[in-house]
Symmetry: C2
Subunit: 209 residues, 2 copies
Amino acid sequence: MNGGRGHYPPSIARLVDEFAKLPGVGRRTAERLAFHCLASPREEAMGLARAIRDARNNLRACSRCFHVAEGELCQVCSDPGRDRELICVMELPRDAIALEKAGVYRGLYHILQGRLSPSEGTGPGDLRIGELMERLAAAAGEGRPAAEVILATRPTAEGDATAEYLAGELRAGFPGLRVTRLARGLASGTEFEAAAPSSLIFAFQGRRE
Amino acid sequence: MNGGRGHYPPSIARLVDEFAKLPGVGRRTAERLAFHCLASPREEAMGLARAIRDARNNLRACSRCFHVAEGELCQVCSDPGRDRELICVMELPRDAIALEKAGVYRGLYHILQGRLSPSEGTGPGDLRIGELMERLAAAAGEGRPAAEVILATRPTAEGDATAEYLAGELRAGFPGLRVTRLARGLASGTEFEAAAPSSLIFAFQGRRE
């Protein structure tokens, strides 16, 4: 329904439209959020606008692992205390952040930026798989090879297929490398973000070859 | 809970904080919205930021009725087709917009910008009551007095008290003026925004002296 858009001044109509594009935000919620922005202290509304703009302008992909970063390297890659022999491969930055919150992992990451998805037309060349191979080869060439790659794609059909594909590539390219997958303590289809930290810990500790 | 804020780059942490200030948005929803802003096309995220900024910069109170306006006068006051003998007094712009959507009212508005609230320390001097009196006096002085003022404050204790106070002031200042209140077809405590248009129509048509 149009909902009487013409009754808004154009600035409000546009603000409602923009809020309604957010996931899980319907028309009525979008109206409530828009009016909140108009009624709240100016600094609060402008703070949200600025935070969105700054996040989009400041954030980029870490040049090593493709996690979100504000500089050349992400917070994990910049941390000298992390175990450089372990690389945890995940689909998206939010997955890595969920794992960081559980506090169980002290190695590095490699963020694929997605998963293999025939239905969405995403193939191996669309993910950061080539960069993972180059990174592993470079580390080996420098005499400090990775000891283990943990395939922590999501516990879904596409995540599993992605892990299976990666396992084949890694075994072929790096015969001595330990390649593991997180234990299926996670219910199929669960999002990392929605999992309790304790489930993540179980899944992590029970990871298998 | 802190929820592991330190695991975010500062730009994301700030964006999550800002989203979490919105009404009805908890920490987890704020995280989802923040990541959506990062993952969505740049123009979509920037569109929201711009819409918030523009709405705050462009919108002001109508100089006549204090409804939201993009120029000197709001859309209703600027419309030559509205009945200038009728003034509907409401608490907030969103109330007037809800009524506009119902399409039942063709007069003008006067937005109080709140309601009498002893608990929040809001007295008559904090509302646009003086401006309403001046506006009625000016119209009478120009020989085209208002015929009716509809007190359409919200159907709550504070809204009722505000309407009662206004009724006394209006009767004392403008003895010939018809002063009405919306029929209580609305359930007590209902927000105008949440009411079905048909309830608004019943309430409007059944308004009483």
